[in-house]
Amino acid sequence: MSKSINGRARRWRAAVALGAAAALGLSGCGLNEDNGASGDGAAGDTVLRIGTTTDVSNFNPLQSLSKTDSWILNAMYPHLLRIDANAKKAPELAKDYTYENDGKTAVFHLRDDFTWTDGKPVVADDVKFSAESIMKYKLGNVAAKLTWVTSIEAPDATTVKFNLSQPYAPFAEGVGFWMSVVPKHVFEGAGDLSKFANDSNWVGAGPFVLESATKGQRYVMKRNDKYPLAPGGKPAVSKVEYRLYPDVNTMMLALRNGDIDLMGTPVPASAAKTFESDSKIKMTKVGALGFAHLTYNMNNKDLAKQEVRQALSMAIDTKSIISSVLQGDAQQMSGPISPIFADYDNTEIQPYPFDPAGAKAKLTAAGYKDGNGDGLFDGLELGVACDQSNANITRVVQLFRESAAKAGIKLENECVERNTFLSRTKDGKYDIDASQWGVFDNPMDQLRSTYLSSNPGGINYNLLKSPEIDQLINDAAGTTDPAAFATKIKNIDKVVHEQAYLTPLYVENFQFAYNASKFGGFEASPSDLLGMVTAYSLAQVKPVG
């Protein structure tokens, strides 16, 4: 018998040794084997190295994109509009846009100096082709934004007209910001664009275009020598290289060691101290275009009651969450419209106060009882679903669970692995959804996708079917007068707040870290999706010294 145990021990030892050797080998030939290469190349070329956490999953810019996808593809394919540092739309490929025909025609006027890297100019036909392909194959999230389009015209090389079935106020902003413009002469030969991989021989018109892609390691982009939005007509940096670091801790170390020059992903609030003592590394702070929220499933019999939703809103200590989880680096929200949309945010409404006793009184008044005297209302037990990989939200749920217990509400922490969470959300299998909206570029699109019964964006997490809200949203959507439109949005903000369909929590600030001793000139935009790595920002970057 001892033979068997000793044999096992030997096997274990061998396995451990093998594992250790494998681990060493892996780390040795790991992600970035030629770390010796610094920012300066042989011929005075400069390479900007950016850290990212995920691979590119799809090189087709017309389809739905993950974060790394959009960073790399947005630097290759121009958009009509971009979002500037103040969260306002700014011109990119389009010089400007106007509405004609009582708001039923949106007209974009394009610049004439954008050029594809194969030498052909970017023209209105490219825009028309991109939009028509998206509509034909229903590609990505832009397809929903083109719902109202009946036809598209390109009367000359720099004019594109979208004819709409009805006026829709934020049409031009939404399509202008989200839609990538692809080269017609390259893409039209690809056949079914929903199956087009676009994974080699890239032709772009952004500041940089992909040169090589090594899955799991790096994506190298070379400069487009004719990019009109860069100072001097071409970017100062000759190459941009995205390097993969699946773990944020490793990425921060890589920045400190000089292996990368910029972290594409934000530095977690709790880890900002990491760079305090490093004089070379600077942090840039930007706002968010989304927000963290608790959304209540209206199909749950308890959550269908307004009093319960209001009580839950009073049972979460958002202020303390902001000061601890986000180290004070966030703004509390009151209604569903983010303060970043200053024109539409209804400043008259106030967040529900953190008041466990008040919440308890509200629930008692609504008929809930604590028969067994355990401090919790009988039969009121709700699950809070969240994505385990979101550090901030998991902490929020943990704290919410503790504070809700003080209000007599028993919450079950249902933070699970990301894919499980996403499939549960899709199937409506949750009571309370704790998550974070990524980017809403305008409040109308946000309200439509989150509250319309028809659920056009697939993110009506309330599963709300309210004719009253539908009517309010549709009425506002068709309003072309800016002042009247803003008033209507503010009213919806108020109604949703009173109904407490969701508890909006905070709009956080993101911090991006870069090596200021090597590069400068970044033009940061709000949100972690845009941040420091928009096409416009990369075109402005200059090597230091």
Binding site: M1, S2, S4, I5, A9, D247, V248, N249, M252, L253, V267, P268, S270, A271, K273, T274, S320, I321, S323, S324, V325, Q327, Q388, S389, A391, T394, R395, V397, Q398, L399, R401, E402, E412, N413, E414, C415, V416, E417, N419, T420
Partner: protein, 297 residues
Amino acid sequence: MSSPLVTDPAAAAVPVQEVGPGTRSAWRTFLRQPSGLLAALVLVVMVLLAVFAPLIADEPGGTGADVLRAPSGGHWFGTDDLGQDIFAQVVWGTRTSLLIGVAASLIAIVLGTAIGLASAYFRRVDAIGTVVTDVMLALPTLPLMIMLAAIVSPSVWTLTVIIGVFAWPEVARLIRSQGLVVSAMPYIDGARVLGASGWRIVTREIMPAVVPLIVVSVLLTASRAVISEAGLSFLGLGDPDAWSWGRILLNAQRSGVVAIAWWQTLFPSLAILLLVLAATVAGMRFNDIRDPRRNGG
């Protein structure tokens, strides 16, 4: 019909000799070895920490003003990014880790012993049992555990069952090999000739002879289960409501403080190391003292 009066003397004589010294003296021998004593002490301390956790530290919760403080008199193991005490988290984590370790190992032992013994004695069961055990041993356990843990709602109990169900094959193989040796011994033939039923032979004659091995297996399987639990929790598949060592590590990794808050990763890792090392050393020492060849017997 079986006749205990006749079979017992033969049965008693052989297994006791196989086991080595009597139970009491076995424990004495075990505790006389410094490594055995130390391992046992660590295990006892861990159990005490787990049982008396509420008396030792408040359940970690809420937020504190001292964020990411290094270890000090006020916070022995420092604090995390919410200002929660890491010492309290480690103490409360002992509960989950031990509970899952012990419970999962019990599941594995019950399943493994039943299948191992049945395979050792009943030839027909052996044909199927060995194949199933081999298949289970060949399966890539970690990916499967990750998949299962992702599908079911994570809780202490689902984790226990998942870990236990994947840990039995090694026990089964160990028990079977020892069972085969025992079942070929003359006293088993004797029992059979005297008319003892298969059930009786397996439970009364073979099982007592493999009990020491079961004790060793419990310890080794428990240590593996603790590692599995920490691994799954670190991957975000643990019980979100229960403190566990893996979860403390996950929190450190997720909030990006690994490089600046060494205490948040060091102490839970040390706890895992200590528990696993103690269980493994205890298991090995126990195996040594019951092994006649090592004891000159």
